[in-house]
Symmetry: C5
Subunit: 265 residues, 5 copies
């Protein structure tokens, strides 16, 4: 996922830079006051719309969503099944120092190792899952709000530039360059909205959907594991989260991914 | 919350003022008739859309929402738990002259002290909560309506200016300045909608969500308190309203906040 | 409600007239063919969209909604409670010639006096209430449709004017005035939509909400009255329809409003 | 209904023709290539969006919806009550050769005469009703899609014209007429969308609502008739479909309409 | 379905090509950098919005949806009824080497032949059906996202061109051609959105609806077949999926289509 985002941003940037460079000096596209009014105005409107804590939180969520690598569902299932085999053979405490590489799974296992009730484990983990979903949802709302504010401030900047240009139209030779500068804010607003805010808001939605699946697999798997279910039946149950295509893939992957666990066990 | 709103409005205003001042005399951006048509037209359309009482009510709600400091959920829980300890030791009447610094909690406590039935307390407080939610919702609708009316009247003003300019195009040197004035109404409309109406409508929604949480905590807490629940179990129950992050914070805060109550008890 | 609508329309009209007059002769803003195309086109599109009977019905609903004074909930409750006292003392027939000043209440009372079954009264009155709601809803849809059609026909008129101007651009001195005329239809469309159709559609919604409350109070009150409930318990029940603020006001108003009824009784 | 549609289209057409004729020669508004690109593009996009069979079906539905006269609910009820009287006196078979002038009612009666079970009659007729509703709904979607495609192709045509004009701006005297032609496609797109597609889509919705009522009356009425209900109780039951206003009208109409049936009986 | 899509795209393309050719040299409409910025920008934004796997998947879904011929419901029912006759006479194993020409039906039959439980067959096939629906839905979302991104990047390209043109307005004779090139990106964006992305998104929806029907017929039919239902009762049950019109057609078609199966049996 991360890769597509980076590739998309790089592709868009290269294309826009290229089309700017082919038209002559790129210096005419740089105007600090115009940038300030669009970027600053968008940030200002975002601050009015949302509590400060949520705005900062969103920045973190976005950063996290695009840097932390999401664990794939198929190997995740294999790993949980491996843990359940280990727990069956050596007891729950054998999972105490296991390293999962996935925070949520780690927490789920430590809850199970601590011997909490099924109901308690479920309630704590569901709460975390809900929290993640609602954090992502608010982050998406904030990004969408920024995607609406940026073109609006772009238009406001262009209007300010046009009024200034029209009010002092003494020298016709300055009309062109003044209008070019006035249009820059509209361009900045369109770029911010269409390359950054709106696409990231959409991707956060996809990311949220994927993370819900991973978390649900962990939650369901650890509940089964902690009540001592048979590893094969856990495997069956967790399969239901996979799409038909992924299920076919899984068969192979599971063997590859499960083996190290088996050996470890 | 209040701070972010103020910061956002100040940031937007400074940026727009700066970009106006850098372009020359700010006097060309001041046109009283243009302001009258946008501000007056927006107010006029708002009056047609809504009953007068609701329009005035919204102004009050907005003012209140951005001046009264909202009580944080974590210290609020600590305070209610403190009250429940006090009530257990010294009886309900000990809460009679307690000062909560939060109107809704104060009312809830006085209802409990007066010895009303659980059902009655719940019905009265839920009604207040519902009333707050629906008042905020109407306020948001009115602000959103204003955010739609302002650009519309901006466009109407610009059309009027354009028609006047085009109808008497004798002296070409006046075209620029006339058109600058005509565009001002569009600018005013965009500023009113994007810096004031639409962001405030969004923030009212956030504010409403936060106030629902505070009120729900008070309602749930006082119901438990009035039926003599154990302070620790009240603490447990009210925790469920907090997000995981806030819950972690709470542990520390609770001690700090709860102590004065404890001592008072 | 009526007042705010009138005030809003007057305020908007004055501001627009003022801004037109300040710019010179208002004669340039009057163009009968432009008006015909916008007003006529909007009416035409409304006729295509809706059955003739509903279009005429909407005109009546709008006229009625803004002329008939709506009875306030608090005095209405007081009046119904007064009637219930009278009915208790002197029997149902004493209400036969009572004058309520509110058609729906009058009908409700005459049904109760005629001795209809509770179920029948409820069914007849609910049906009337539903009919009012659906009539208002259709009226709103028609007004919203007009609010979308007016700017569209404004744009069509402007396009026709522009094509005519551009096709015969022999004399440059006529370009300005021709374009001014072309823009008039856009202006008319914006005015019709933003000052008349869209705000009235919104107000019809508010009006509908208020009338539902008045009718529900009458319906509930007369049902209680006809089954001989205690006046105080009727008062309690009907209170539930009021918002907390209105409930506080009511206490005073009730005494003032109820007294004449009491004396009459 | 039919009349309002025709009146609306005629009104719009006359106004637009008049405003064209007043501005000079109407020949400048006729441009076959522009028409082809808007009309053809709209048809093309409609074919891509929808299966061919549905596009042709919609044309038929629209044609049918505006030519076949819808039977009014009040006389329809009177007729069904008349049939039930006839069936009671002379038996179901007496309805065998009755002529209803309404296909759906005719089918319903023939099912009842054939002696089908209540459940079967209900299932067959409900299925027809559902089919009508979903056909109308798809027709509406297609018309709305055309209403969105027409302005888009209008804009595409104008862009093509503008690019051609701008690329060969040698003779300034041709700029005006070229731009006039370029704008024609935008005008055509706006006319097709706002006078034909969008209003017809809305009217199809109204038509659907009315036909659902007529069909429901027939369905309910024939079910009662076929199980031998009392004509008066059938009349009572079917009344529930009418609005209060229509119900008042019905009283008179019923007598007028029912009499011939009575005599025939 | 396939045909209408192809016909629509061909019709649109011819009309646009014709209108370009009539206006002079088509070379002015070809500008590689403009194409790169619109097509590349749209692809870039799509990559940011969606995981790479889904973007590639959508391309496959669209390709598949428009090349694989969908089986018509009526002959499909006939075929399933034919299979059920065969299974009754010769036993389930007789269906082992049957060739259906429809993957989903083939899989359903092989599951039935393998003797799986009703519940298992239902669960496996429903899962496939759900997977198809959600794949189509995501495909539609991606196409709609592209339909929104293309005009946005068209506008961005035009803004870049305008800024470049305005900043160096030395030679007035270059203004026209520069602006023509600037407008090209807007034109490309409008073409991509209105001829390709948005209509295909709509058609994918229709396709999804049709495929749900075919799959549901197979699922229901094979479940009945595998529990040994009477072929005539299967025919009755599957009829319920057809619309009234299709049902009438079916009667004839069934005989024609069913006969080969009968003979084979």
């Amino acid at each position: 996922m991360d890769l597509a985002t980076v590739a998309g941003i790089v592709l868009c940037s290269i294309l826009i830079l290229a089309s700017i460079l082919m038209g002559g000096s790129p210096i005419i596209f740089v105007n600090i006051p115009s940038m300030l009014i669009v970027v600053g105005g968008t940030i200002g409107a975002t601050l009015i719309r949302n509590p400060l804590a949520e705005v900062i939180g969103t920045a973190k969520i976005v950063a996290k969503a695009f840097t932390i690598k999401l664990i794939e569902p198929a190997p995740l299932i294999a790993r949980i099944v491996g843990f359940s085999r280990k727990a069956r053979k050596e007891g729950m405490l054998a999972l105490e120092n296991v390293d999962c590489g996935y925070d949520f799974l780690q927490k789920a296992i430590s809850l199970a190792v601590d011997g909490l009730e099924q109901e308690e484990i479920k309630s704590i983990l569901s709460n975390d899952l809900q929290g993640m979903v609602s954090r992502h949802k608010r982050g998406r709302k904030i990004l969408e709000g920024m995607g609406a504010a940026a073109p609006a401030f772009g238009m406001i900047g262009t209007l300010i530039g046009l009024v200034q240009m029209l009010a002092s139209m003494d020298d016709p030779s300055t009309i062109g360059p003044s209008m070019a500068v006035a249009l820059l804010t509209t361009l900045y607003g369109a770029l911010i909205a269409n390359i950054i805010c709106l696409p990231l808001a959409d991707k956060l939605k996809v990311r949220s959907r994927e993370e819900v699946m991973s978390m649900s697999i962990c939650l369901e798997g650890i509940l089964c594991l902690s009540q001592g279910d048979n590893p094969n039946s856990i495997d069956q149950k967790l399969k239901a989260f996979l799409s038909p295509t992924a299920r076919a893939q899984k068969v192979e992957e599971k063997r590859l991914a499960a083996e190290p666990e088996e050996q470890a066990a």
